[in-house]
């Protein structure tokens, strides 16, 4: 068959078969969506380690009530950049850029994304973003929190703050370019046999995410440009002394940054909807409910942002409106949760590492979601605003949710990406350590918050020390939990047992090609003969 002889040479990128790729191939302007996916995943994971190290320094500082380990200004720089890195350089590029780029074309039976060069460009724009964030530490680091509210952001560390703004603009541009690529790819490039409602739910999730990124990111960019002008060019958009308005910034910021919460969780919901049916050996419960609830979240999610601003002099009607809309947006999320539980119900569950992380996510995300509902209610929010209760809430959804989901995805698709199986016992050790570490770190923070410990401070009242020490121990358990994963991933990538094309007996199209897939994914494009979740029609083979 002549087509089997296709090499990279002939399609315009000079790459040999994936088996023969060297490490340096991943450091080039490569247009293959699989290479770009790996580039995103690995660079995002690198920044996860950087951001994690920052968190450990902060937790070490918080082991004692006084500020004795690092300079308080440096502490502020750490908390600002910890948040920024984890959001803009780890979860968003990892979940959307990494899994999205790697999996979407494979799942819909396309040979690549709609705009391969634009795709590569979108990845390489994140590199200056990373360099700017790291480089800003030579200028003191941005110190006004990841929200960068003026007037604080106008008066502290101007150079570092400007670098921070440019970094976010780079990351945002990358995310807009990526989003438009996903939308066109999913819209136009599905195999002919795949209708909208035959599409894997991960693709629905990426579609909803992309729409959200496309419409909300530019508004943040507008706000940040104004902030940049205020800092560097003498304008007064956010300087009240000259007629500017600081609350305006908050509106612009949260119009993007609340949807950013969904940017970080919708792809994870997509991963859940893939991992759970495969390892529970059951068709997904409520396919359409899950698919359309992603779109519902994406629409309602654009109208809840003021719940971050209940204490910013917000008028009562606004508090009322945004409390109600916030409670409504919990409904489509609940639809998904119940659908996954119903999928698990009566399934032949295989407790693989991927499945453990997915089930762990389910438990922790429900917890984080419920604290989110309490926070979205104005009367409660005003009481606990800017306390550790907020920190506890968003770490339950972002760590217990997003990071667990990325881990589930990594365990699930590692065989596809690398052609090697991960070591399962090490994976389980990783899961147990992560699960214990997460709850040990973030559960006590609820109590700290309710008792009134403010967030974003290096010093605190000695009465809180006992609980803080528990959090710090938990954080170091979390730090330790990375090790089994890193060892596992690095060792298995070169020495793990070879993976077949479909080691989990899954039904989605990415498993119909080799592991790792060849250039352009298939010799002959696959045809969908059954639904993506048609499990249970023949006896399931249990492979682990």
């Amino acid at each position: 068959m002549a087509q089997a002889n296709i090499t990279g040479e002939m399609i315009g990128n000079s790459f040999p078969h994936p088996d023969k790729w060297k490490w340096y191939h991943y450091f080039t302007f490569n247009v293959d969506h699989k290479v770009i996916g790996i580039q995103y995943l690995v660079s995002a994971f690198f920044f996860y380690l950087v951001g994690g190290a920052m968190a450990l320094v902060m937790r070490a500082e918080l082991a004692t009530p006084s500020s004795d380990l690092v300079d308080p200004n440096f502490y502020n720089a750490l908390l600002t950049n910890h948040g920024t890195i984890m959001i803009f350089l780890w979860i968003v590029p990892g979940a959307i850029g990494g899994f999205g780029n790697y999996l979407v074309p494979l799942m819909i039976g396309a040979r690549d994304m709609a705009f391969p060069k634009l795709n590569a460009l979108a990845f390489w724009i994140t590199v200056p973003a990373g360099l700017l964030i790291v480089g800003s530490f030579f200028f003191g680091g941005a110190q006004s929190g990841w929200t960068s509210y003026p007037p604080l952001s106008l008066i502290t560390a101007n150079t570092a703050q400007s670098m921070w703004i440019l970094a976010i603009v780079c990351a945002g541009t990358s995310s807009i370019l990526g989003a438009l690529n996903f939308i066109i790819t999913i819209w136009k490039m599905r195999v002919p046999s795949m209708g909208w409602n035959d599409m894997p739910l991960f693709c629905w999730a990426i579609l909803a995410t992309s729409l959200l990124a496309l419409f909300s990111t530019p508004v943040l960019a507008a706000g940040l440009v104004l902030l940049l002008f205020d800092i560097n060019f003498g304008t007064s958009f956010f300087r009240p002394e000259n007629g500017g308005d600081v609350v305006m910034y908050q509106h612009l910021f949260w119009f993007y940054s609340h949807p950013a919460v969904y940017l970080m969780i919708l792809p994870i919901f997509g991963i859940m909807s893939e991992v759970i049916p495969v390892h529970a050996r059951k068709p997904i419960f409520g396919y359409k409910a899950i698919a359309y609830s992603s779109l519902t979240i994406c629409i309602i999610g654009l109208f809840v942002w003021v719940h971050h601003m209940f204490t910013s002099g917000t008028p009562p009607w606004m508090r009322m409106f945004f409390t109600v809309s916030t409670l409504i947006v919990a409904v489509p999320t609940g639809v998904k949760i119940f659908s996954w539980v119903a999928t698990l119900w009566g399934g032949k569950i295989r407790y693989t590492s991927a499945m453990l992380f997915a089930i762990g996510l389910l438990a922790m995300f429900v917890f984080g979601g419920l604290s989110g509902v309490t926070l979205g209610t104005a009367p409660v929010d005003i009481h606990v605003h800017d306390t550790y209760y907020v920190v506890a809430h968003f770490h339950y959804v972002l760590f217990g949710g997003s990071v667990f989901g990325i881990y589930a995805g990594l365990y699930h698709w590692f065989p596809k990406i690398t052609g090697r199986m991960l070591n399962e016992p090490l994976g389980k050790v990783h899961f147990i350590l992560t699960f214990i570490g997460t709850n040990l770190t973030f559960l006590p923070m609820h109590e700290l918050g309710l008792k009134g410990m403010p967030r974003r401070v290096a010093m605190y009242d000695p009465q809180f020390q006992y609980i803080n020490i528990i959090c710090t121990i938990g954080a170091f358990v979390l730090g330790l939990s990375i090790l089994p994963f890193l060892i596992n991933a690095i060792w298995s990538w070169s020495n793990g047992p070879k993976a077949s094309g479909n080691p989990w007996n899954a039904k989605t199209l990415e498993w119909t090609t080799d592991s790792p897939p060849i250039i352009e994914n298939w010799d002959v494009l696959p045809v969908m003969t059954e639904g993506p979740y048609a499990y249970g029609e023949e006896p399931a083979e249990v492979s682990s």
Partner: protein
């Protein structure tokens, strides 16, 4: 990247078979991108309108704006949107000469618009930092001007490429079309911008 390797007839046929389903999505890609970009302008418009509604006097005394020159500029820019469409129609009838003529006129009109804008800036008597109104005024018009400049570069790019025989034709004009769509976008944004910055001062 394309054309770097001279494929043999055999491999070319295979490569083509591999790529037969790759449609050209560049036009809808651009439109999707412009939707996103429009939201950025929308952000600026909302900021402007909110500051306007909160201010006692808008624009404040000493920072009044001139209306005649921008009105002429508006006419030029809106007219150029029609002119560029003639170029697009021409290329679809395989008339590259017509394309070059109409695109050159559009480019000239765009350049006049930018020159008019700069002339206006130089004669206003206040700068970016004078007050909140002037902050908004220069930022919005400047940001739009930047887009006009990019559109102008796209049009010049089309003109440059059209020198080569057969680069554009009745069946091959995606680049022409994209420059035109971008130009219409710049035009539409200007109409909104002109309405809220200039015309609203008359109310």
């Amino acid at each position: 990247m394309q054309g770097a390797i001279e494929p043999t007839s055999d491999t070319a046929a295979v490569a083509e078979a591999h790529h037969e389903e790759h449609h050209d999505f560049r036009v809808i890609g651009l439109i999707t991108f412009l939707c996103s970009e429009f939201l950025m302008f929308a952000g600026f418009f909302v900021i402007f309108l909110v500051y306007r509604s909160a201010a006692a006097e808008w624009p404040p005394e000493e920072t009044e704006i001139e209306l005649l020159l921008p009105a002429i500029n508006t006419i030029i820019l809106v007219a150029s949107s029609f002119v560029i469409h003639y170029g697009d129609t021409a290329v679809k009838q395989n008339n590259v000469k017509g394309l070059r003529k109409w695109y050159a006129i559009t480019a000239a009109m765009g350049a006049i618009f930018l020159a008019g804008q700069i002339y206006e800036y130089m004669n206003l008597g206040y700068g970016l930092t004078t007050n909140l109104f002037s902050n908004c005024f220069y930022l919005l018009t400047g940001f739009h001007g930047l887009h006009v400049f990019i559109g102008l570069l796209l049009i010049l790019g089309v003109l440059w490429r059209s020198r080569r025989e057969g680069h554009y034709g009745a069946e091959k004009h995606t680049g022409v079309e994209m420059a035109e769509i971008y130009w219409h976008f710049v035009d539409v944004v200007w109409i909104v911008l002109f309405s809220i910055i200039y015309l609203l001062t008359l109310v």
